[in-house]
Amino acid sequence: MTIRTEMIAQRPAPDQTIGALAWLRANLFSGPVNSVFTLLGLYLLYLLVAPTVQWAIIDADWVGTSRDDCSREGACWVFVKMRFTQFIYGLYPREELWRVNIVFASFAVLVAWLAIPRLPFKRWVAVVTLLPFPVCAFFVLYGGVLGLPLVETHQWGGLMLTLILAVVGMVAALPIGILLALGRRSQMPIVKSFCVVFIEFWRGVPLITVLFMASVMLPLFLPSGFGVDRLVRALIGITLFQSAYMAEVIRGGLQAIPKGQEEAAAALGMNYWMRMGLIVLPQALKMMIPGIVNTFISLFKDTTLVMIIGLFDLLGIVQAALSDSRWLGFSLEGYVFAGMMFWIFCFSMSRYSQYLERKLNTGHKN
C-alpha cells in the first residue's frame, strides 16, 4: 500500500469538455440531425457570402476618378468615393461645408454629454440642446447673418438632410406626443375630443399623402408669391404625423401605470401637472423606451419619402447621382452604400436604447 505524500497537481479538464472542439460538439454537432443541419447551414452561408465578398471586395475597383477606371466585374466603389461629399452634404456649396461640420460636431458633443452618465450639469446641457442650439444651428446652416453667405434649403441634402429631418421630427414629436397622450386620457371633453380627432386623423393617412399634400396642394391655397419653404413643409408634415404615433405609444405606457399611483399622489396634495410630471410620466416613459425607439427608427427610415417632394435626402441624392450620364449603371453600389448608412444609424439607436433599458432597469428583472 502506497500513500501519496503530495497532492496530485490539478489537471486540465478533458479535451472533450472544454475549448472550441467541445463547444462545436455541444452546439453544432450534438447528433446526426444537428450535424446535417449545421453542414447545410454552412453551405448556404458559403453560397451567399462568397459571391458577396467576391463582388464587394475582391473584384471591386477602389482607385480612379471615372467610370473608365471600373472593370465592371465587381463593385465600383470609385463611384461612391467620387460622390461621397455629395452623399453626405447634398448640394451644399463645397466651400461652406465647415458650417455643416461645426453644427454636427457640436450636436454630437451635446448628445454625447447627455448620453454619458458620469458627466455633470445634465440639466443645463439639455436646456442648451433643446432651445438655443436649434436656433443657432439653423442660422449657421442657412446663413444670411454675420456675413455668412445664404445657403437656401434646396441645396441641403444627403445624410445631412436625413439627420435634420429625423432629429427635428423626433425632438418635436416627443413633447407633442406626450401632450396628446395626456389629452386623450383627460376628463375634459373638448381637449379629449380634439386629441382623439388629431391622433386618428394623422394616424389614418399615409405619410406619403401628407408630404404630397404639403408639396402639391398647399402652394395652390396660399397667395401667389407667398411660398412656404419645402423643407419647412416637410418638417411640419413629418412632425404632425410622428406626434400622433408617439401619442399612442405613450398612452400605452400611461395605461400600464396602476391607478393607485396617481391616486396616492393626489392624496399627497399634488396637482395634475405634478402628478403627471413627477409620478406617472417618469415610470411610463422608461417603460416605453422600446416603443419610442421603435417609432424613432421607423421615422428615420420614413424620411426617405421626402424624395417625392423633390428634397434630396440620403437616398434621394444617391438616386440623383445614379442619373448622371457619366455614372450610369452603378445603382447597386449606390443603394448598398445608402443601406449601410441607414443600418449604422438605426443599429446605434437600437443599441443605445438597450443600454438605457438596462440602466433604468425597466424589465424589473431583480
Binding site: L220, L222, S224, G225, M307, I309, G310, S325
Partner: protein, 351 residues
C-alpha cells in the same frame, strides 16, 4: 415623357395625379397667373428660378461637384445669360413629374425645363405656355444585335419589356394594333429592373423614349450588343414651359432657345463668338447685337444673344455636350438636326 421613374416605385400614377393637381389649380382660379412681372421680379432677385427634373440622364442631373448638368439645365442657363449676362445666375429646383406644374403655377419656379411633352391639354388647360422644342423625343425600341432586326415592323410576336404606369404602354398597344401585330408585354417597375429583364433575355425588345433608351443601353453589361431602332412610334416634343399671362417672359424664354438655334445655323460657337463680332454677315451682326438692339423688345440688353452663345454655347454645343456624341449617351442628332441638315430644328430669323 409623362412619367417619372422614381414615382412609379411608389405605385402612384403620376399622370392622374398631375391632372388632379392641375384641376385643383383651376378650381382655385389659376393662382399663379397674377404674377405678370416675371422679368422685374427676376432682376430684383438676381437669379432665374428654374425647375428641372430630379435626375434624368443627359437632361438634368447633378455632377460630381453638385452642379446641375444637362440639356434642360442649359436652357435655364441660357435664359440667365440673356437676362443677367451670367449663365450661373440660376436657382435650380428639382421637381418630380407630379408637382412640376404646380410649382410653375404657384411661382416657385419661373421656367419649367424638365423634359415635359408639349400636348394640347397641357398647353391649353393648365394656364401654361410651351415656348419651343428643345428635344424632339419619341418612343423607340432597343433590340439585341443578334436578332438582326432593322425595323419595328419586324417585331410581330416579340416579348417587349416596358416600365409600368407610363404612356409607353398605351403607345405600344396602339402601334401594334394599328399594324395588326401581336406582342407579349413584360412590365417592370423601375429602370434597373427593366434593364435586368432585357439582359437576362426575358424579352427581345425594350421600349421607352429614345432619350431614355440611350441611358438604359449604357447600363447593359455589353452596350455594343444592343442597338436602338430608327423607328419612332410616338411624338414627344420636349420643351420649356412658362406661365400664361406674361408675354415678355414668354418671349425671353422662347428667344433664348431660338438664339442658340440661330447661332448654330450661322456657325457661331462659344469659341468663335468674339471673332464673329467683327463679321460682315448682317444676320450675325443682328444676332450678336452689333446692328440694332433686338433685345429691347424683351426688356434685355443688346448683347443678350452674345452672352448666351459665349457662356452656354449654341444648340449643337449644348446637345453634343449633354446628350450627343461628346456625352456617354451618344444620341444621334436625327430629327433634332437643323432644318438645313434634314432635321426639324428651325428658328425664326432675328431681324
Amino acid at each position: 415623357m409623362l412619367n417619372n421613374n422614381k414615382l412609379n416605385t411608389h405605385k402612384l400614377n403620376p399622370h392622374k395625379l398631375a391632372v388632379m393637381a392641375s384641376a385643383g389649380a383651376l378650381m382655385i382660379g389659376a393662382a399663379g397667373v397674377a404674377q405678370a412681372e416675371t422679368l422685374e421680379d427676376t432682376l430684383e432677385r438676381g437669379t432665374v428660378q428654374c425647375g428641372v427634373s430630379d435626375g434624368l440622364p443627359g437632361f438634368s442631373a447633378p455632377d460630381d461637384d453638385g452642379e446641375w448638368q444637362g440639356l434642360d439645365a442649359d436652357v435655364c442657363r441660357a435664359v440667365a445669360a440673356a437676362v443677367f449676362g451670367d449663365a450661373e445666375a440660376v436657382r435650380f429646383t428639382s421637381l418630380n413629374a407630379v408637382e412640376r406644374f404646380t410649382a410653375l403655377q404657384s411661382g416657385e419656379v419661373d421656367v419649367l425645363s424638365r423634359n415635359t411633352t408639349w400636348t394640347t391639354t397641357r398647353d391649353t388647360t393648365l394656364g401654361l405656355n410651351f415656348t419651343g422644342v428643345t428635344f424632339y423625343d419619341g418612343q423607340g425600341f432597343l433590340v439585341s444585335r443578334d436578332l438582326e432586326i432593322e425595323s419595328a415592323e419586324q417585331l410581330d410576336g416579340a416579348a417587349i419589356c416596358i416600365q409600368s404606369g407610363t404612356t409607353t404602354e398605351l403607345n405600344l398597344a396602339d402601334y401594334f394594333r394599328a399594324n395588326d401585330m401581336e406582342f407579349d408585354p413584360i412590365v417592370f417597375d423601375t429602370s434597373e429592373q427593366t434593364v435586368g429583364g432585357f439582359e437576362t433575355g426575358r424579352c427581345d425588345v425594350l421600349t421607352s423614349d429614345t432619350s431614355q433608351l440611350a441611358a438604359l443601353r449604357i447600363q447593359l453589361s455589353e452596350p455594343d450588343n444592343a442597338m436602338i431602332l430608327s423607328d419612332v412610334i410616338s411624338k414627344e416634343p420636349l420643351g420649356p414651359v412658362v406661365r400664361q399671362g406674361d408675354d415678355q417672359w414668354f418671349n425671353i424664354v422662347k428667344w433664348s432657345l431660338f438664339a442658340m438655334l440661330n447661332a448654330e445655323e450661322l456657325g457661331i460657337t462659344s469659341e468663335n463668338v468674339d471673332e464673329m463680332l467683327e463679321s460682315e454677315n448682317p444676320n450675325i451682326a443682328r444676332l450678336l447685337g452689333q446692328d440694332g438692339n433686338y433685345g429691347e423688345g424683351m426688356g434685355l440688353e443688346a448683347d443678350w444673344a452674345y452672352n448666351i452663345i459665349k457662356q452656354v454655347g449654341n444648340y449643337a454645343e449644348a446637345y453634343d455636350r449633354n446628350v450627343g456624341m461628346d456625352s456617354p449617351l451618344e444620341i444621334e442628332r436625327g430629327v433634332n438636326a437643323l432644318w438645313t441638315d434634314g432635321g426639324l430644328q428651325y428658328a425664326p430669323p432675328i431681324r
